[in-house]
Each structure stands twice: as C-alpha cells, then as structure tokens.
C-alpha cells in the first residue's frame, strides 16, 4: 500500500497531538485539520478541538463545504474571539499548532509576512494571524512545509513574523513558558530543535530519500547524527484517514502550490457541489 506524501505528513502531525489541552484550528489547512481529526478519533480522545468558534467539537469529515457547519453541530460551547483566545493562547492551555510559513530558518524564525527588503517589500504574504503569539507560547509547534527547498528552508528569513522566543526547556521555564518540541515536518523529512544554540536535528528522512537529498535542499545547518528513515504510518491511522476522515483527499491541498492546487481544489468543489445537487434531486423525488 503506497503511502502518499500528504498522508505521511498527516499521520506524523497526528502523533504530535497529545491527549490533553486544547487545539484551535486556524485558517483552512486541511492537512493539519485531518491530523487533528485523526488524533481525536484514536489516541487523543480527551483533547479539546476548537474549529471556527465551535468549542469541543467531535471529529468531522473533511468535506470542503461542510466542515464549518459540521463543527457547530457537534460542539458543546461557543468561543468568543477574545478572552477565550487569550486564555488558550497565553495561559498554557493550547497544546499544539501547525503553521505553514513561506520561510523558516535555522534559528526557528518563520516568515508569513513579506518577501524582500522590509523597507520596500517585493511580495506581501497573507500575514501571521495568531502564529507569532502561538509559536512563542504553545507547548508544541509543528511547521509543515509542502515544498521542502532552499527557498522555504532558508539561511535567514527576510522578516521575522514570529519565532520560538525561548526554545530550550530551561529557558522556557525561566520565562514562564511551557516547554515542548519545535518541529518541522516537510514533504521530505522531519526536523526538530530543542536549544537556542544548536542547529535543527534531522530526525528522519522520508522513505526513498537520502540524508544528502534533504541537506542539499535545506538552507540552514542540520545535525544529521541520529537521522533515521521516517517510519511508516500506523495502518489504523491510514485507514481512518482514507475511508472516514478525508475520503476526497483535501489534505493534499496542503502540499500543492499554484495552479496545481487550484486544479485540485476545483475537482473537490465540483464533486461536492454535484453531490449536493444529487441530494436535492433525491429529496425532491422522495
């Protein structure tokens, strides 16, 4: 059974979701969403998922049009965007968040703001939303990158949208922050960083790739001492993902770019639109 890259990434991220605390869904990131659903259905039944303003939702199917409405149908409370967000983001309640930045560098700084000279930016990116706050505070951070290259994993970001202010457990505790891992999961490899002064470790390279493949595509230093091959995902995870959580493969949007992403999205929305049409016809007939 061939594991697709986005499936491998979903399962790797799902493992980062532990059975406590709160996970908030940010912008539409179906790769991350699928990971959260997978964890919620398996090893993290007690994690509180918050999607949009729906607190404590059950796992929902990753339907492009339907997941927002679904979240409200199975949640136990409504979140206001202020106190509750503060409370989760700043007060040690948020446990893991996934962010997909345009650039990340070896210091752990990431950029979702601009490309080029900050005084005269060449490109304006969407902005960091809550990422700058979350990366500083959360127990666990995962950056996922669908196109591992020296353009995304750069020597130095053009602009620091945010970073892991304090990284090592000692420093984090000293500043009142919860310690926890700082990881990067890409289409090629898994990396992590647990000290301000040491480089990212190359934890594993995905099956079929060599350490050298990864190092050559990475713009910053990697410690490759203990690098292994990324283990295959749990087959239960993979099966749940394919058959129940994300049967249309929306997670793949997370690793596609440009026109390829748009074409893939078009297929998904056409399929679901047609399904709604069929449903209407059936209801009318009944």
């Amino acid at each position: 059974m061939k594991v697709e890259t986005h499936e491998l990434m979903v399962c790797l991220i799902a493992n980062e979701v532990r059975n406590h605390g709160v996970v908030v869904f940010g912008s539409y990131t179906p790769l991350a969403y699928s990971s959260y659903m997978l964890a919620k259905l398996t090893h993290a039944k007690d994690v509180t998922l918050i999607g949009y303003n729906a607190i404590d939702m059950s796992a929902v199917e990753m339907s492009y049009f339907g997941h927002e409405a679904a979240a409200y149908k199975c949640s136990t409370a409504r979140m206001d965007a202020l106190n509750e967000v503060n409370s989760i983001h700043l007060s040690h309640r948020g446990t893991v968040e996934c962010i997909s930045p345009a650039q990340i560098d070896g210091s752990g700084a990431f950029n979702t703001s601009i490309i080029g000279d900050p005084a005269q930016p060449k490109v304006y990116l969407p902005g960091q939303a809550g990422a700058s706050d979350v990366a500083q505070h959360y127990e666990r951070m995962v950056f996922y990158i669908g196109n591992h290259s020296t353009r995304t994993l750069v020597p130095k970001v053009d602009f620091v949208s945010g970073n892991r202010w304090k990284i090592s457990a000692t420093e984090r505790r000293k500043h009142g922050l919860v310690p926890g891992p700082y990881k990067v999961v890409t289409n090629m490899a898994v990396m992590d960083k647990d000290d301000e002064d040491r480089p990212f470790r190359l934890v594993s390279v995905h099956p079929g790739l060599s350490v050298e493949d990864v190092v050559s595509q990475t713009g910053f230093e990697l410690d490759t001492t203990d690098t292994i091959v990324t283990p295959d995902p749990d087959t239960v995870h993979l099966d749940l993902l394919r058959t129940r959580i994300d049967p249309r493969g929306t997670a793949k949007l997370g690793i596609l770019g440009g026109q390829e992403r748009r074409d893939y999205l078009r297929q998904i929305i056409e399929y679901e639109w047609q399904r709604a049409k069929d449903h209407l016809k059936l209801s009318a007939a009944a």
């Binding site: 199917e61 927002e68 199975c74 700084a109 902005g127 939303a129 809550g130």
Partner: protein, 298 residues
C-alpha cells in the same frame, strides 16, 4: 425606537476616511452585502480593520475604497492570495499595517472597555513589534516581566453580519462569530446586517445566543444571503464557484473594471437575482446541511 434601516443607510453611516472594522473570519461570514454597498456608494480612503480577512478586504481594495489595511492575515485561503490587496500594498497605493492577531483583539478589547491600552505577553521575537507605533515594549509594574503594550483600537464603524436580530439591535450569530463581538464593542457606530429580522420575543426566548446587545448598535439592516459568497453557517455554505470566478480576476485585468462597474450598477436585490438563482441558493443550504460530525457520517 426601531433601528431598522435600508442597506443604503450605510451611505451616510460610513464616511470617506473612516476606520471600518469588518467582521467575519477566513471565508466565513464577512459582511459582504455591506461591503458591496460601500463599493456602490463609492467610499474612499477607508482604513480597514480586519482580523482574518479574505474577499471582503480584497474586494474593497479592488473597488478602490481603501487607503490602508490593519490586519493580522488576509488571503483567499485555498483559492490563493488576495491579489488586489497585494497589488495595492506592493504599489504603495494602499498602506499595509500587519499586527499580531492577539494584539489586534486586545487593542479592540481595550477600546470597548474604555481602557487606553492593555499590555500582554506578546511575541517578543517578532519584527512586527518595533515598527508599529501602536505597540510598545514595557514591563509589568508588579513583576518586572516583559510585556507588549497595545494601544486601544477604536474603529469609527463596525460592519457585522448576523443570523438574527431584532429592531433594537440585539444580535445573534448562530455560527461563526470570529472577532465580531469585540469589534462591535470597540466601534463608535455598529451596523448590523442580518439574515432575518425577528421580534423581540424571539430573541428573549433564545437570549443565551445573543452575542451583542442592542445598546451597541446603531442600525439593523435585513439582507438575506448578506455574507454571500462567504459562508453563513448553519444556513449556507460558501459559494465556491463565485469566489473562484473572483479569484481569476487579476489586478489590471480589464474584466475587473467591468466586474466592479456591474456591482456599482446594481442594487443588492439585483445582485441576488443575478448570482443566486433558486437552485444555487438551495445547493448552498444543502452543502451546509450535509456537513456532519463523523459519527453520523459513518
């Protein structure tokens, strides 16, 4: 005293140069009917406040209504970048003011609570702090801990779209509320558009669902599908094909001028007649209905 008003009341309640907060988040529940009305009435130099914006912000820039955008994120998500906003920023025609998402919420909160600034344990490592005159590095007066002070953000107007509202402005969101409530409390004038005006009695029966009490609200405008093409769950899903078509318009494209001219030339009723035939409306409702938790989907 009834606050019911027609959509055209926005022409007077929003002035050129106003700081305008836009509710909604992602591609969910932006006040799109109000946005279209701003374009129709040819507003200029608006200073937008958008926490997680998308087509709302982008369309106002495309319609040439905007001087600056205060935002923590604006994109069309899976559809791609907010191209018109980007072009505005990159040409220097529109000022970009990115601010951390929590800082924006805290600044709005401060305004609503009558506090000139609130400090928090913000993102100390971010380059967004030192270049922003509304943020300042300070110390906690008790613990000497590092903090970031956020100046109160006081929009002139907030435009918010809700599910149900009574004529006094008691507003209920049944789905995504995003930063709407905090914006409503911060703004000097709040304009509510709603899917449906209901009686006070209906609101009383469901008082726990009221997000913003009427005393914050200046005008209540009934506009069915007022978030279209964004979603307004649980009533309707986003109109992805409509957004798709919009996302194909590139800055400078002559079709963009036609697109804006058409919006300007039609009323909101005509807009609905054009883009929301009976079948489309039914499909959008069905798409929201079909969203289910996994237990049921299985």
């Amino acid at each position: 005293m009834s606050k019911l008003a027609p959509l055209s009341a926005i022409d007077d309640l929003v002035r050129d140069g106003d700081m305008v907060a836009l509710g909604g988040g992602w591609l969910a529940n932006h006040p799109m009917a109000a946005v279209r009305q701003l374009i129709r009435s040819g507003k200029k130099d608006l200073r937008l406040v958008s926490n997680i914006g998308s087509i709302d912000v982008d369309l106002l820039v495309a319609g040439d209504c905007v001087a600056e955008v205060h935002y923590s994120m604006v994109s069309l998500e899976a559809f791609g970048f907010a191209n018109h906003m980007r072009a505005g920023f990159e040409s220097g025609r529109v000022k970009a003011k990115e601010i951390p998402g929590l800082a924006m919420l805290i600044g709005l909160d401060a305004a609503g609570r009558g506090i000139p600034s609130i400090s928090y344990v913000g993102p100390f490592g971010s380059d967004l702090i030192d270049c922003n005159p509304d943020l300042k590095r300070v110390k906690c007066p008790f613990s000497d801990r590092d903090m970031i002070a956020v100046r109160a953000i006081k929009p002139d107007v907030a435009l918010l779209h809700v599910t149900r509202c009574d004529s006094d402005g008691n507003a209920q969101w049944h789905g995504t509320v995003a930063p709407d409530v905090v914006m409503g409390k911060a703004a000097k004038r709040v304009i509510i558009t709603c899917e449906e005006v209901v009686s006070r009695g209906e609101i009383v029966k469901t008082a726990a669902a009221t997000g913003l009490p009427g005393y914050y609200v200046e005008a209540v405008i009934e506009v069915p599908f007022g978030a279209h093409p964004c979603s307004h769950v649980p009533r309707y899903a986003m109109d992805a094909f409509n957004i798709w078509d919009y996302s194909e318009l590139k800055p400078g494209d002559p079709k963009l001028a036609d697109f804006i001219a058409r919006l300007r030339g039609e009323s909101e009723v005509e807009y609905r007649a054009r883009v929301l035939d009976r079948e489309t409306a039914q499909i959008l409702r069905t798409l929201a209905d079909l969203g289910r938790p996994l237990a049921e989907a299985a």
